[in-house]
Symmetry: C2
Subunit: 358 residues, 2 copies
Amino acid sequence: MLVNNQNYRTVWMQDKYVYLINQQLLPHKFGIYKSKDYIETANAIKTMIVRGAPAIGATGAYGVAQAALEFKGNNFEKFKKQIEKAEKTLKSTRPTANDLFYAIDFVKNKIMQNITIENAKKDSVKYANEYADWNVELCRKIGEHGNKLINQNQNILTHCNAGALACVDFGTALAPIRISHYNKKNLFVYVDETRPRNQGASLTAWELAQEKIPHAIIADNAAGFFMKKGKIDMIIVGADRIAMNGDVANKIGTYEKAVLAKENNLPFYVAAPLSTFDINSKTGEDIPIEERSSDEILYISGIDKNKKIRKIRIAPEESSAKNPAFDVTPAKYVSGIITERGIIKPMKDDIEKFVKGK
Amino acid sequence: MLVNNQNYRTVWMQDKYVYLINQQLLPHKFGIYKSKDYIETANAIKTMIVRGAPAIGATGAYGVAQAALEFKGNNFEKFKKQIEKAEKTLKSTRPTANDLFYAIDFVKNKIMQNITIENAKKDSVKYANEYADWNVELCRKIGEHGNKLINQNQNILTHCNAGALACVDFGTALAPIRISHYNKKNLFVYVDETRPRNQGASLTAWELAQEKIPHAIIADNAAGFFMKKGKIDMIIVGADRIAMNGDVANKIGTYEKAVLAKENNLPFYVAAPLSTFDINSKTGEDIPIEERSSDEILYISGIDKNKKIRKIRIAPEESSAKNPAFDVTPAKYVSGIITERGIIKPMKDDIEKFVKGK
């Protein structure tokens, strides 16, 4: 992605260092966090310097590579212990992140196929990079397939941040928008603020501003208004998990936008890699919904006029909040799912064909 | 309404002073603003110490009474000039507030029917109080009619603040909830945060907390989630203007909740006095929608840990916002309109019968 007219990934490695776009500071400041060892990298995941499942996965992979490079000595058993210790530390940072586990195991298993520590160290970096590159390619393909759905002069609504910052590059929902923009299509993006954590207003708007893609932030409440006024041509969102019948779990509010899209006869697309399909979830009913801290609703962060980051309370002391983090959008509201292998209809047979053929 | 277990109105008059619950400080601090003359009262309207059309109307009426009481001398022509000057000052504070104009004219016309200044002064206070009392009674009746729609053990969603703070007492959408609560019905209120100005999270939640009505603030994005989960039994909102076919203009996001209510087969009620019907608006198409400052989306206010009120920016410097303040909910989504004279179906014939018979 472009940041200050330079190309960046969300996470990368150079020598023994892991570099991360520091998402704690966004959208107010752009800074790179430089992690010198796997312990610091694990902490960066824990403290949400990096967030978004694919981005966390790649960071975990690089963390394993750091653990390998850090090792001093010739004892392969001790080297193995070091990798296992790093694995445990890195996996404990975000216990529900499937991509993190997958990425760490991928690099670890490649390392362990070696006989010499020297080769294992080389392989650790090679395969961590391979994981990151693979993820970039996945998102780029989602972008290419989604691009075919986007006509010239389109107004597109998106919700939350399914952008490059959540991945290694391109993003999922933002990938088709990026590729269409690179193809000189004239787009305007309506960015749902995405309360309570405001990933739309902070991260998505920031990414679009960096790439000079015309956009405006809107209150989540205003999405329906713009749909009804004919100001929105299509909706593209990401997904956290997709059931085998096409029900989509994604950031809270996605269901509202999907119902409104249907009511206004607008196409509603979900962009996600095939790995988002959960073969253990027959329908959306099987997907558990995380209830997060009410503080996310009662408090908010931003910068004051002196550019100092502040957290303030925006609700009465006596009131509490309910804060479901995700919702499930039934398949009947979804026009199609944009994957790295093409557009899937949100129907059992189509999904099984794609997912089992992956 | 109850505040700290004492009964308050949003605005009242004692001797020559007008007292207002200072809504600039809510929900973080409860304070009474004491205005010593009509100039200060006009400023209180302008600076939104008081907001909400009926509350502003009553405040304007009291402002005229202050202008009358302030007059010294025996020259009725000069007295008349003083009242006209006050009228102009008070009306200029919020140029689009119909209730304000109506209330000021009501008191002024009553005053002018007198021959002596002494009687005119007495009448000014009498009729300003009459205006306020009339508004309280209106809201109480809306509450009584709405109460009949609310069963025992109901979960009710409301949007924005159509509460006592917007009126003189009771509120419109909150009146049925209050009366049901006084009647020992076991209620739980889901309070839409109502971005961008957060009137739900700040004012509605504060009112409910003061009256000990069980409630939780939710992100506007979560209303659909709770409807789909069967956690919400009915929706009651207020209205800014209602067209003669039953289309309802209200705070941005109302349309979204109405569509979601229909999709989930839930009753969606609008509570508003008959004066909210606009005989010049045949349909919602005739109602202009105000576009407000994008700063309402880009910035937010709250209190820091030292209880100091702070305004912070929550979006990237490079991004802008679009901020329609209201939307129009087509009549087909509205189950009924709760007025002081009963429940009206949102249909041309029913509305005309009620409005012309008012």
